[in-house]
């Protein structure tokens, strides 16, 4: 098989998902080739334990469209790197018992060295990159979902041979690997810019960018960065696409609602620029995931809608000396801040680390698509500015008011206590609390004898009243004086989505009321 035709995977190169048991002799027979000096196979079996738990059996679930596309891409890469005669990988889906064959990889090559190396490469990449989820059924009757290995959740485990390196080789050593030249992005227009050129383009191709949030900001940011030819993009978002996302998250398709946004966006970007290495994590950007991912990237882009996550991203970026590009929107306005190692950071601007819920998010405050569209696009520009080493950005916050047609740059000097390594990485004192702030439902609150307090505005509360006995005290009014709280053993605060109520509960905890809780996810609008 020649490099020019690698878009088509011939019968000798096959990646497949199978609901049925894998027929190993039949698969092995297809590897035969007169030019092959041998074959190497790997079998992955279901074992009876995982992280100290006894496992009885497990089930694999795949996102087939992307799994097959990614699997085929891995086989292509292996073929090009190792000069294989043939390679096959079959991964099971559905229920498997202990000892069951979960995945089979077979390769044939002219020499044994290539065959061993290619087999190892394929199984490692498949486990890391192909979107598969594993549900384990434990001896104690419980079960748990294990995110596919690509979403490595244990930060203590050393990162595997970094996948972006493979992607880079793929992009640079074999620039024509994905079909003819005409179907690939041509960077001539941006290379023509003073300050870019082929050297700048090479910097972009070598860069690894982490994008947290695949929503109104993340869609344009990721799209422009993929188009520009960033070597490796990692997309993180725990959410599935919802109809309310579509008016501003315009890379998605209405028919894809219900599917994971990180995976959908990766698939979309791959069609835009097949050269870009794409990695996805369908997971919330918690401290553990940030600790794992941030040091493996050159720039972090915050496209989230939670202040708590923005601060966590800022802190991780500062700790590891990685620049971060942060942005947020509110109705017709946006704010953007580029945080560079040694410069002022988010905590220099907001030393008090304000809580979510006080300032409103898109769901509560409303948003028009072009506002995050503009800010996300601006973030992509700032990432390119950093990577291309164009005229340096300044320390501070850029404010954009679309309705007023104004931008304003507010200079933020680095706070004296923000030393390059430690000043801004101190966690806010109120971030750690043993007792969870949220309760899952009203029943749990009633069981604890809590007084239920609706903190929505009067019109929201009237439109969708709570079905249980409760008091009504809008957040704004309540926060002015917590002494208004009805006497009770404790309180469960309820708002539309759980942000305002958690801000109120946190304020109560700070004021010494240990039994203040927030209803997770809120009561709806």
């Amino acid at each position: 098989m020649t490099v020019q035709h690698t878009n088509e995977v011939s019968a000798a190169f096959e990646f497949r998902l199978s609901e049925e048991a894998i027929d190993v002799p039949a698969e092995q027979a297809t590897l035969a080739d007169p030019g092959a000096g041998g074959y190497v196979a790997f079998e992955g079996w279901v074992r009876d334990h995982n992280e100290g738990q006894r496992v009885l059996r497990l089930a694999y679930e795949a996102y087939p469209r992307l799994a097959i596309a990614e699997g085929r891409r891995i086989l292509q890469e292996a073929q090009q790197r190792f000069g294989l005669k043939s390679a096959r990988c079959i991964h099971r889906t559905g229920l498997l018992d202990i000892g069951g064959l979960a995945v089979w990889v077979g390769v044939s090559a002219p020499h044994r060295g290539e065959a061993f190396a290619a087999c190892r490469y394929i199984i490692d990449e498949v486990k890391h990159r192909v979107p598969l989820w594993k549900q384990e059924f434990y001896a104690d009757g419980a079960s748990g979902w294990v995110n596919c290995e690509r979403c490595a959740t244990a930060p203590s485990v050393p990162a595997p041979a970094t996948p972006h390196q493979h992607e880079h080789e793929h992009a640079h050593v074999h620039p024509h690997a994905h079909g003819n030249q005409a179907s690939l992005p041509n960077y001539a227009r941006q290379e023509a810019l003073p300050g870019v050129g082929t050297a700048g383009q090479a910097r972009l191709a070598a860069a690894r960018v982490l994008i947290i949030g695949c929503g109104g900001l993340g869609v344009p940011a990721a799209t422009y960065l993929a188009g520009a030819g960033i070597g490796s993009l990692t997309l993180v978002d725990p959410d599935v696409l919802e109809p309310t996302n579509l008016p501003r998250q315009v890379a998605y398709a209405a028919a894809d609602c219900g599917q994971a946004k990180a995976l959908l966006l990766a698939e979309r970007l791959r069609t835009l620029n097949p050269r870009v290495g794409l990695h996805t994590h369908v997971a919330a950007a918690d401290a553990a995931l940030l600790e794992l991912l941030v040091p493996r990237h050159d720039v972090v882009v915050d496209c989230t809608d939670r202040l708590a996550v923005k601060f966590a991203i800022n802190d991780a970026a500062q700790r590891h000396g990685i620049p971060a590009v942060l942005a947020s929107v509110h109705q017709y306005e946006g704010q953007l801040q580029v945080v560079r190692p040694g410069g002022s950071c988010l905590r220099c601007v907001w030393p008090q680390a304000p809580r979510d819920g006080l300032v409103g998010n898109c769901a509560e405050a409303g948003v028009l698509g072009p506002v995050p569209g503009l800010l996300g696009t601006w973030q992509a520009f700032e990432v390119l500015r950093l990577l291309l080493r164009l005229e340096a950005s300044r320390d501070g916050v850029l404010t954009v008011d679309l309705l007023g047609g104004q931008t304003r740059f507010l200079h933020a000097p680095r706070a004296p206590e923000c030393s390059s390594a430690h000043g801004c990485v101190r966690l806010p004192a109120n971030s750690a609390s043993a007792e969870p702030l949220e309760l899952p439902d009203l029943r749990a609150a009633l069981d604890r004898g809590l007084c239920i307090v609706d903190v929505r505005n009067a019109d929201e509360a009237a439109a969708n009243p709570l079905a249980v006995p409760h008091q009504h005290l809008p957040m704004d009014r309540l926060l002015q004086d917590l002494g208004q709280l009805p006497p009770a053993a404790g309180w469960l605060f309820v708002c539309a989505r759980g942000l305002r109520s958690s801000a109120v509960a946190a304020a109560c905890r700070e004021a010494g009321h240990a039994t203040a809780y927030s209803l997770a996810g809120g009561a709806g609008n």
């Binding site: 306005e333 300032v359 304003r408 507010l410």
Partner: protein, 81 residues
Amino acid sequence: MSHHYTLHYFAVLREQAGCREEQLISEAITPDALYAEVRARHGFTLDAAFLRVAINDVFADWHAPLRTGDSIVFIPPVAGG
């Protein structure tokens, strides 16, 4: 003694003030006193503790001295994405 200031509001402050900018003659000589004055007038719900102030486009302390002619921005954090 009265001073002349130009005030700029962002996000929820702009909503509650009903304008993004206003000229003001005030006795206040620090941002915290000035904010207390306009908070009472516009009914701002956010306490100064949740805001930052910038004087002539540089983030500043709430007790920094103001001079007549200064441009003052009151800005809350925003979180939408």
